[in-house]
Symmetry: C2
Subunit: 94 residues, 2 copies
DNA sequence: ATCTAATTTCGATACATATAGAAATATAGG
DNA sequence: CCTATATTTCTATATGTATCGAAATTAGAT
């Protein structure tokens, strides 16, 4: 596996993460303004998504590098990594 | 469903199309240079993908608006729609 | 009309994944 | 320590999808 393949691998992860309605909405929420939102904030803005499901989606978005996260007590605040968004999916940004 | 939702719907389709290794490779092949390739050309550049599978992938890439296509006899030549790529996935472009 | 090549459609199968509820973990506060 | 809250992990299930081979379709060439 050379460098190109590796990059393709990451791009696939990014696009797979964004290619699902709930996750894309989460990404758009997080890209919108400078809001840093925690898991339950996001849950409040979506309709009827179980916490465990949300956690799974956030993990996928974070694992591909699309999200920055900051721990604060029991909370984890998420925001989009703008460099990644710029490179792979500027559609996310204003 | 309002205009925003509709746009999210298209974006999901685009990212879902790109979020699969074979399809992303196809998109990169088609974005690379001004090559217009037909289905069998693409098959020749990938390893062991059945024609029916290739057809399925190309349909998905075309249906979300990522590809331009030009029929010529029994051939169909594909290229990427650069406006779409610019908007959703500039990573595809040089 | 027949033949050949390109592509799509159909049917089946195996694998991936989105989802939820319940249990587990982590962390702050009393 | 105990409680409450935030988040994750576990387990199960239902749906989605990537893949192929075979059959069907399409369009040019002989």
């Amino acid at each position: 596996m050379d460098a190109d393949d590796k990059d393709v691998g990451q791009a696939v992860k990014v696009y797979k993460a964004l290619g699902e309605p709930t996750r894309l909405k989460i990404a758009l929420l997080l890209a919108d303004g400078e809001n840093n939102l925690c898991c339950s904030d996001i849950g409040g803005k979506l309709e009827s998504v179980a916490g465990s499901t949300l956690s799974h989606h956030l993990k996928q978005l974070a694992d591909c590098g699309l999200l920055n996260l900051r721990k604060d007590g029991t909370y984890i605040f998420y925001s989009v990594n703008r460099d990644m968004a710029q490179k792979y999916a500027p559609y996310l940004l204003k």
